[in-house]
Amino acid sequence: MEQYEPDRLSAVQRAAMRRSFKNGRASLTRRSLLRASAGGALAAGGLGTLSACGIPAAGQTQGGVSAEDHSVKEKTVNFSNWTEYMDVDDSGKHHPTLDRFAQRTGIKVKYSEDINDNNEFFGKIKPQLAAGQDTGRDLIVLTDWLAARLIRLGWVQKLDPSNLPHAYTNLSAQFRSPDWDPGRAYSYVWQGISTVIAYNKKALDGVEVKSVSDLLDNPKLKGRVGFLSEMRDSIGMTLLDMGKDPADFTADDYDAAIARLQKAVDKGQIRRFTGNDYTSDLTSGDFAACVAWAGDVVQLKADSPDIDFLIPDSGYVTSTDNLLIPNKARHKTNAERLIDYYYEPKAAAELAAYINYVCPVDGVKTELAKIDEDAANNPLIIPDKAMAAKSHAFRSLSSKEETEFEAKFAKLTGA
């Protein structure tokens, strides 16, 4: 029988498992999903669509986008974020950066970690935003493609630059002008996410992996390769490997990337397309190598010495999670002040030291070095020139393209 060390494995796996359903950018829980689909369907159902009169056009908003700004009277801001995406003190109850903001400005932040999945969250806020109602949130954090969709639909408010002096000055050049929000009129980056290749040294057992091609073609890895169920990450990495730029590709390029992945699926090379749960596959060695999010890998590395990552020579995909103020938010100015606060190098450094994603703030390195020297020198947190040069964003898609591409990708993944 093969060697099996339950104690050591299970500790790591437990940590990975916990993360895979607690943490996470694409973590999927049955509960949250049920809540999302049921909530979406019911909320919409209750809206009197009983008479089968259809779903109103999404762009329509009744009575303008902005509500009266209660920022001065009500010293509060409702901030919805992803789980484990904020610094926490040792007691686990306080968020030091948020507390400092409250002390300085007198604005109390009602912080809730109620975003688990972009698609799910969209289903949740869609009925209110489509009906032109307040979602009860002043500030939300969404991945770039969904942020782009909300901007396209006219569901988020234009930001007032006069409230955002630090943000305007300190935003890294890399993130300044995405094609879906030129000049950052509606959004600011919360954190950047790098998509890289992660591997388990023990499971690889000497097989060399350097690129996405190795993942797709090396017969020694058959059935032990994972890709992400996020279309843009999996396709983006494949496009780069094929010498195309995810920031500028055609529908034909997209089809070619799908075909390349389909070939690997057909011959059983790709084991699964996963959300955040790839972390448990990788630690158990069921995945020898997979496409992964660098933030997770930094944490996995700390748990297990076998896990490491690499950046392919062809480059890697960078996406962003973005701060947005939804229509009808009651405390717009307060929300803008909070955005600006996180662009002060000191607050940004504290946050970056705690969560391991790409920090979008220039001039954070010296502040971060004071807290954590290693983190300041980690190119995954503060990209150096070489890293930044390899970073590619996935271009924004029109509504028609989005449906078409997602449908093709869904077919690839089996449904």
């Binding site: 009983l50 259809g54 779903i55 329509q60 396209r152 989005e402």
Partner: protein, 309 residues
Amino acid sequence: MSTLTEAPPPLAPQAPASKPPKRRGRFTPYWLLLPGILWLVVFFALPMIYQASTSVQTGSLEQGYKVTWHFATYWEALSAYWPQFVRSVLYAGTATILCLLLGYPLAYLIAFRAGRWKNLIMILVIAPFFTSFLIRTLAWKTILADGGPVVGALNTLHVLDVTNWLGMTAGDRVLATPLAVVCGLTYNFLPFMILPLYTSLERIDGRLHEAAGDLYARPWTTFRRVTFPLSMPGVVSGTLLTFIPAAGDYVNADLLGSTDTRMVGNVIQTQFLRVLDYPTAAALSFILMAAILLMVTVYIRRSGTEDLV
């Protein structure tokens, strides 16, 4: 050895003991029904109507969706995703049969032979319910890991060669294969099989077994002619409680399966949340519902039991 239980309930219908209630209470049943009816209307009927309407709409997120009575969506959905439908029925069916094979002996043991261990075994059956469905399914990933002892043992015993030949697995692994999905379904829905079986078996009068013995029936004949027919209501409700949720399940296929094990639940989830093709998702839900209703009706008719449990 069998034990005597108390006398069976009288078969003759009880004579009406009291006079019909006073007129004042005439509406009482309706008042009692009201919360349930309201609940059903708000959380079942309205969403159903809404989904039915969605399934015949066309449009996009930007332009909105309008009811155009586009019934072709049903046909398109069925022709595009029939493999997933077939797979759902196949996996759920296999899991149901496995549940029955595993659950019946256990329910029999609890009902007739467990003695003072009865409560303990019942607790063991129900205990997994105290943890989340998701955690239980994820635990299977650890149990069935490629390098783990279970897969190692199956490989040594050449069991995987057999399942490979059956097309249930591929290569030296169990995870990310149909076998893993069916195992996950079986495991997750087993208590839904055991509990109705147990209630059914437990109600069987032990004296019937004695009578069968007195008439020179051998144990197997007793089971075949007496016990099993009397437990049919439990078998029917157990299989229904297992098959129906298993056919619509997507968590097991998502976590334990691969691209070639996606079930119809996965398709609905993807269409609804990712592709945002609401009409197709709604149409698929209705096709699934209709298919299950049809199968269940035929099944209940053929098994000849209309009162469940």
